[in-house]
């Protein structure tokens, strides 16, 4: 097995906030003693932007704007060159979490065109004969609770053939009346999106009702930008022809990592929307879109 390098972060959920001290241990385990040229630990935080294939040609001018943005980058030397004894060696570390310069520690976010990621990397340099050892470990940054009072913004909605836009042949649509409400489109990221949906009437049988969570990522600045909406997840809330007049709960947990508080910076934006999708027999798809504002309190 040789030598193994591991990073253990103290908090089980690996969640830290700006200004906190990230602590943990680096574990070196080996059957034999290990000769090395020093062990260092690097903390890195970057925003990776990527243009979607369809916009690459058009926005080549903004090539610069998609350069990765470093938010945090610092290295500490943990151990001077020397030798580790055989067995398990634990080296504790503490890392204050401070952004580089006047940058802001954005919240960890895994998206398609925008990625905000924080890692700890431990490097053990070794002599020429032995390969250097590296271990990377992601930790998660949550932004500080937003100031100000959280105000829910409930939305009531009604969907009928008449309320729909982008309908090719309105006459062919079966009659239906859907009523519902979202308890708030201002959402706390740790709380589920809730509401209810009632099929008051529908000529056609219902096949399925779904909640589609969509991320809208914008890269670029005022002069030109790429804006792409992609699906994060799709949650079915009704399967089959549900009872008329009985409310079906709208309930969706915001997935961790794939969502973050709605973010708007000079170079990029991350926003979220939810689509309420109703599928009718034989093949009608009705979508109602609601922009969401996510925050952390």
């Amino acid at each position: 097995m040789g030598t193994a390098l591991d990073i253990k972060i103290k908090r089980a959920n690996k969640v830290y906030h700006a200004g906190e001290v990230l602590s943990g241990v680096v574990v070196i385990s080996s059957k034999d003693s290990v000769q090395h040229q020093g062990v260092s630990l690097t903390m890195e935080g970057t925003v990776n932007l990527q243009l979607s294939a369809k916009s690459v040609g058009v926005f080549e001018a903004f090539y610069n704007s998609v350069k990765p943005i470093q938010i945090i980058n610092s290295t500490i030397e943990m151990v001077k060159p020397g030798k580790f004894p055989s067995g398990k060696t634990e080296i504790p570390f503490e890392f204050p979490l401070h952004a580089k310069g006047n940058k802001v520690l954005y919240e960890t976010y895994h998206g398609v065109f925008v990625n905000i990621q924080y890692t700890l990397r431990c490097d053990m340099r070794r002599s020429l004969l032995a390969k250097d050892l590296t271990k990377t470990c992601e930790f998660i940054v949550h932004s500080a609770p937003q100031k100000g009072k959280f105000t829910p913004s409930p939305v009531d909605f009604t969907i009928t053939p008449e309320t729909l836009q982008n309908v090719k042949e309105r006459a062919l649509l079966p009659k239906f009346l859907l009523r519902g409400h979202l308890n708030s489109t201002n959402c706390v990221i740790t709380q589920p999106l809730t509401g209810e949906l009632v099929v008051e009437s529908s000529e056609a049988a219902i096949r399925s009702m779904e909640l589609q969570l969509v991320r809208v990522e914008t890269c670029g600045c005022a002069e030109g930008y790429a804006r792409d909406a992609t699906e994060i997840q799709n949650i079915q809330i009704a399967d089959g022809d549900v009872c008329r007049g009985l409310s079906v709960p709208i309930y969706m947990v915001f997935p961790r990592l794939f969502t973050c508080p709605t973010l708007e910076t000079t170079n990029f934006k991350v926003e979220f929307e939810v689509n309420i999708v109703v599928l009718l027999h034989p093949d009608h798809l009705i979508t109602e879109n609601f922009p969401l504002k996510l925050c952390r309190i």
Binding site: A12, K14, I140, I232, Q236, G240, P249, L257, F258
Partner: protein, 847 residues
């Protein structure tokens, strides 16, 4: 009439026997034999040796033949369908027992689902079966690339694991069509196994996928009659999964210093455990489809305990509402059923809070699994005591608790206290009806866990409560149940009857029909459980009393069936009484029994057989040489039979018993007694009616008579002649009776009997007879082949022959009629083969 002299052929029985007997061939291992189980090993050379060349092929082919019984079961016939339905039940039983054990172990931790499920499960599987073809559509890759499973991607480890999984997913969308039910069950079982394997090999994501795919199968309601069974099979997998997840998280909370207490609070769970738990919930929350999301979340609902105290009760209403989204009513109802199963423990907590509502408490006790209630018996007793009696009477609550305790055992240490606490309340119940309803249930518990002392106390208490104002008259069913329960737990009757209050308890059954019912139960239990014959005076006294009660209930109106039942029970008792070597005591018991049970013919028959057996036992003990004392005893036995037989009604019963007892007398060298039996039998023959009643139908008796006579003749061969009577006096007398008996007109029975007589006479004229009775000289040694004896014998033969010939003549007279009959018959379409016969017959007559 012409005389045909008869000469018996001399026979050498020994030589004949030797020549007729098949030669015994020793069979070597591996040789063919039709009665040996079929083996594949063939050794042809040996067979050739034994059976010759022609048979060698046949034997080798037959040894390779497929067992027809086993080939039946490979799926082509209806029986295999039966096997298919039966299998899961067996399987269910096997897993149930293990589950029950496991539940008992960690019942208090897990809470548990409610009682009847284990039973219901088996029932459902056995009941909802199908012969239609089923299909399983597994699409393991459905979640691939979606955020749902990628939630895990936060750590590298999981990411690589996902990549590994891709291999598994590739092409793993498979639809299995045309499965028989058994195939389906097997597939599900395989999935269950691969779930466990995946879990064991740390492939948690794969495990989750299997569970998701399985629960997805529940949205398919095609082949609706199999759906309940499908539900059972799949929720089993879900239960397995829920348990695995729970145990895994639970084990995370256990570090080397401390173990998590059974009723832990979320603060006790460590961060890693909580994080893992959260992870699961996030993962499940992102399952795309509604039905799998619902089922999987419900299956790990218990894990909410690690996160917050109120977690489960908060989830419950949400999950309930979630079911509204299921359009198919069947699927949604089953989803609700699953939720209920997963959550009853929570309800328990809730109703504790609800201020001990008696009605609710009762519902809980009747709905929850008995083990669950039993382990908390003391709590329940406390709650029952405190609760308000206005809405729901307490005795019903105690009854419900008692019902649970009858099914499941409370902790050892609480048992006596439970009984004391409960009985304190029960004994104060004023209304005898309330009292008995409660007491009846608690008797079971008492019998199960305590000794006869406690049972005695309880019985005494019941007597005390039920005697005033003859309250027992209104409670016979309950009292009967009490007796049944006591009997069911005390298989040792000497212990049972030493329970002082048992017999006084029986005295409460004063209505005869009920009394007899109870007696029947007791006897039934005795026959079932008494292994060894007994002479315990306590048992004998009590059971004789019980049997007498049963016997005395017989009257003119008693149904045959009832009589048969009672006789069977009494006979069972009689057979179980043995005084060992004290034969005289045994005989006096039979004498006493006869006087007690004289109205039941089968019992008398049994007694005669028992006494005959006793005589033969005596003979065996003395090795055939009776002493003066045993000879006298045996004669007493014979006398017993002789005077008992005439009191029976059935004519053939009497005949056969006379013959049988005669044989026993003969075997015990009581010659004159044997003669008396045989004479009695002979003199009874003229009374045999033409028709007798057999199982309610009238049947001609001739065939029975023929059978009896043949048997009789065989015995007569060895009966020695009485010195004061003429030669073969018994045979002569019997012949006279046969001659005088009014036979059916034109029947051949009489002639058949005569041919048998010829057999007998021929056998009698041999120098040495075919068989003998030890220590009894038969006619062969008495006469020693005396010519006078032989002449007498031959004369008899001639007479019999003449009779036979006479009959043949009468048959010839009827020939014309016969011919006409045959001709008529031959005209019918399917009787043409008779035409030829009809043509031939007249020719024969002429010649």
């Amino acid at each position: 009439m012409a005389v045909f002299p008869w000469h018996s052929r001399n026979r050498n029985y020994k030589a004949e026997f030797a020549s007729c007997r098949l030669e015994a061939v020793p069979l070597e291992f591996g040789d063919y034999h039709p009665l040996k189980p079929i083996t594949v090993t063939e050794s042809k050379t040996k067979k050739v040796n034994r059976k010759g060349s022609t048979s060698s092929t046949s034997s080798s082919s037959s040894s390779s033949v497929v067992d027809p019984l086993s080939s039946v079961l490979d799926g082509t016939d209806p029986l295999s369908m039966f096997a298919a339905t039966a299998d899961p039940v067996a399987l269910a039983a096997a897993t149930d027992s293990s589950r029950r054990k496991r539940d008992r172990d960690d019942n208090s931790v897990v809470g548990s689902d409610f009682e009847p499920w284990a039973n219901k499960r088996g029932e459902i599987l056995a009941r909802y079966t199908t012969t239609e073809k089923l299909s399983i559509n597994l699409f393991m890759g459905s979640e691939k690339g979606k955020a749902g499973t990628a939630t895990l991607a936060m750590s590298e480890k999981v990411r690589t694991r996902l990549e590994e999984l891709d291999d598994f997913e590739e092409g793993s969308q498979k639809e299995l069509l045309n499965l028989t039910q058994q195939d389906y069950v097997n597939r599900i079982e395989e999935l269950n196994q691969s779930l466990k394997d995946a879990w064991a090999s740390d492939q948690k994501v794969k495990a989750l996928k299997i569970v998701i795919q399985c629960s997805k199968l529940l949205s398919d309601t095609s082949v609706i009659q199999f759906y309940p069974s499908k539900f059972v099979l799949i929720t089993d997998i879900l239960d397995t999964f829920g348990k695995l997840v729970y145990e895994r998280i639970f084990s995370m909370c256990v570090d080397n210093r401390s173990v998590l207490p059974d009723h832990f609070s979320p603060e006790n769970a460590n961060d890693t455990a909580k994080e893992t738990c959260l992870n699961w919930f996030f993962k499940i929350a992102s399952i795309r489809e509604l039905i799998p999301r619902f089922y999987v979340e419900a299956s790990i609902l218990k894990c909410n305990k690690f996160l917050s105290k109120t977690g489960i009760s908060e989830c419950l209403p949400r999950l309930t509402c979630m079911i509204r989204g299921i359009g198919d009513p069947l699927v949604s109802v089953y989803a609700r059923a699953y939720l209920c199963r997963a959550l009853l423990t929570e309800m328990m907590e809730r109703c504790k809070k609800l201020g001990n509502n008696a009605l609710l408490l009762n519902s809980v006790m009747s709905a929850f699994r008995a083990e669950f209630i039993a382990t908390r018996s003391m709590d329940f007793i406390g709650m029952i005591k405190e609760c308000d009696e206005s809405g729901f009477p307490k005795h019903l609550l105690f009854r419900s608790l008692g019902l649970n305790l009858a099914l499941a055992d409370p902790p050892e240490s609480d048992r006596l206290q439970i009984l004391n606490e409960a009985w304190k309340v029960i004994t104060k119940l004023k209304n005898p009806q309330d009292y008995i309803n409660c007491a009846e249930v608690w008797v079971e518990y008492t019998c199960k866990h305590f000794t006869k002392r406690e049972v005695n106390t309880v019985l005494a208490d019941v007597i005390k409560h039920m005697t005033p104002d003859r309250a027992f008259e209104d409670s016979y069913p309950q009292l009967q149940l009490i007796i049944k329960k006591v009997i069911a737990h005390f298989h040792d009757f000497s212990v049972l009857f030493s329970v002082e209050k048992f017999l006084p308890f029986l005295d409460m059954f004063q209505k005869e029909s009920v009394r007899v019912e109870v007696c029947k139960c007791i006897m039934d239990a005795f026959i079932k459980h008494q292994q060894e014959p007994t002479k315990d005076p306590v048992i004998l006294n009590a059971l004789l009393h019980v049997c007498k009660t049963m016997h005395d209930s017989v009257n003119a109106l008693t149904l045959e069936d009832e009589k048969r039942m009672l006789s069977y029970l009494i006979n069972g008792f009689i057979k179980m009484v043995s005084f060992g070597r004290d034969f005289e005591q045994q005989l006096s018991f039979y004498v006493e029994s006869r006087s007690m049970f004289c109205n039941l013919e089968p019992v008398l028959v049994q007694l005669i057989h028992s006494v005959n057996r006793l005589a033969m036992e005596t003979r065996k003990l003395m090795k055939g040489n009776h002493s003066r004392k045993t000879a006298a005893f045996v004669r007493a036995c014979v006398a017993y039979c002789f005077i008992t037989i005439p009191s029976l009604a059935g004519i053939f019963t009497r005949l056969n018993l006379y013959l049988h007892s005669g044989q026993v007398a003969l075997a015990n060298q009581c010659l004159s007694q044997a003669d008396a039996f045989f004479k009695a039998a002979i003199s009874l023959i003229p009374e045999v009616p033409k028709m007798i009643n057999i199982d309610g139908k009238m049947r001609p008796s001739e065939s029975f008579l023929l059978e009896f006579l043949c048997n009789f003749f065989s015995t007569l061969l060895i009966v020695p002649d009485h010195p004061e009577h003429g030669v073969l006096f018994l045979v002569r007398e019997l012949l006279n009776v046969i001659q005088d008996y009014t036979w059916e007109d034109n029947s051949d029975e009489k002639i058949r009997i005569y041919t048998c007589v010829l057999h007998l006479l021929s056998a009698m004229s041999q120098e040495t007879y075919l068989y003998h009775i030890d220590k009894v000289d038969s006619n062969d040694s008495l006469y020693g082949g005396d010519s006078k004896f032989l002449a007498e014998n031959n004369k008899l033969c001639e007479t019999v022959m003449a009779q036979i010939l006479e009959h043949l003549k009468t048959l010839a007279k009827d020939e014309v009629k016969t011919l006409e009959y045959i001709k008529k018959q031959s005209k019918q379409p399917d009787m043409t083969h008779l035409t030829e016969l009809a043509l031939r017959l007249p020719l024969q007559t002429r010649t």
